[in-house]
């Protein structure tokens, strides 16, 4: 086991121990937020793209965690559980956004281009915009798997635990996603 993995395990253990004691619950939750906020934020940001949206989803995620942490029995890794909640919250948000989108934004491809251009917290180049446009063309499940594997560098086992999907299914989804993005980016450049 690597030193990083060992360290993560110790951190989880410490947080859970604090959360299980009502007197140290607040301290435990504070440590949890500080430890995982950045990783969860970037996972969410990749899913929802805009900072303001990511901020809202991150808050919703931690509120769900705050309400549900007492029922967390430690059957899976804490981070896996947190990641799963963040993913679900992101998907719920995307569904709502799609439902209430304007006509212009209904076309996700052109919508994301204009949105990124207008976002004051985005200063990426054309290649980055094209990559993000390509992401928007994927079905939500493939997009999720691609982000988790390509950007977050997660193992299939971890993704499988988070999404409750078989490793075989995940490999197939990732393969399809990579091929579609490659094709989109090559055509656009």
């Amino acid at each position: 086991m690597s030193a990083e993995s060992e360290n993560n395990k110790d951190t989880e253990k410490k947080i859970l121990s604090q959360l299980r004691n009502s007197q140290s619950f607040e301290q435990g939750f504070s440590t949890l937020v500080q430890t995982y906020q950045e990783r969860l934020y970037w996972h969410i940001r990749k899913m929802v793209t805009l900072h303001d949206d990511a901020d809202e989803v991150l808050q919703n995620t931690f509120i769900k965690i705050f309400k549900g942490i007492k029922n967390f029995r430690g059957e899976s890794k804490l981070y896996t559980w947190l990641y799963r909640i963040a993913t679900n919250e992101s998907l719920t948000f995307l569904k709502k956004r799609k439902k209430y989108a304007t006509i212009e934004l209904d076309n996700e491809e052109s919508g994301i281009y204009n949105t990124l251009k207008a976002d004051s917290y985005f200063d990426g180049d054309e290649a980055t915009i094209i990559l993000n446009k390509a992401l928007e063309t994927l079905p939500s499940k493939q997009k999720q798997v691609f982000i988790m594997r390509y950007y977050d560098q997660l193992t299939y086992k971890d993704i499988s635990d988070m999404l409750d999907t078989s490793v075989g299914g995940l490999k197939a989804s990732y393969h399809h996603a990579v091929k579609k993005i490659e094709s989109f980016v090559k055509n656009a450049l």
Binding site: V33, K46, F62, F66, F122, D123, G124, L131, Y150, V178
Partner: protein, 208 residues
């Protein structure tokens, strides 16, 4: 081979083109200054706000339920069927209190005004002074028989079979009259199920 190498090798096999692109997920994306330093404070403020909101909602809901229950109970007691027994009960309680008060203080007070009222006048007195009656007063003057009558007459109560009714009746004997009535009759639901027509009928009969 470590985890990152394994993931990169896999990508390189599927798409060497994508493998060469920058995989930094933060590429091009920025955040407001001190965002993560302030995030926890903003989050905790929102959690406290939501907790306070849900707490006051629960309190409001309990208050409204109790208020609505009392309102309905009082209205029901003025329906033709229960009005007479209710009024008698009120007069009896008032008399009882008056008598107790006189006998314990050993003074020569006049009987209270309400004790001299007719049933109709008592109705009027109670309606006009409903805010002076606490829920305990109302509970006190509701006779067990009235509650039991409510049981039988109102639609929210149905027993699956006679045995069940017998079991419930046996249980009822072990409890105080009002607890018995409340628990077995599910009085809150029972009052809630009364329609406006029930109250209109009472109104037409001149009880309001």
């Amino acid at each position: 081979m470590n985890k990152k190498d394994e993931i990169n090798n896999e990508l390189n096999e599927i798409s060497p083109f994508l493998s060469d692109l920058n995989k930094d997920r933060k590429e091009g994306f920025s955040i407001p200054k001190n965002y993560f330093d302030n995030f926890e404070n903003r989050l905790m403020s929102r959690i406290r706000e939501e907790e306070a909101l849900s707490g006051s909602k629960i309190a409001d809901s309990v208050d409204n339920t109790i208020f609505s229950w009392i309102q309905n109970a009082v209205k029901l007691l003025f329906t033709p069927k229960y009005a007479v027994s209710f009024s008698i009960a009120v007069v009896a309680v008032v008399f009882g209190i008056q008598f107790f008060s006189i006998s314990t203080s050993n003074t020569t007070q006049e009987p209270s005004l309400i004790a001299q009222l007719s049933i109709e006048e008592t109705h009027l007195f109670i309606v006009n002074n409903i805010h002076d009656f606490s829920i305990d007063d109302i509970i006190e003057i509701v006779e067990t028989e009235v509650i039991e009558d409510l049981h039988i007459d109102l639609p929210s109560l149905h027993y699956e079979n006679k045995n069940e009714k017998q079991v419930i009746n046996k249980e009822k004997d072990k409890q105080s009259s009002f607890d018995k009535a409340l628990e077995s009759a599910e009085a809150k639901n029972l009052f809630d199920e009364l329609s406006d027509e029930d109250f209109d009928e009472a109104y037409d009969e001149g009880y309001f």
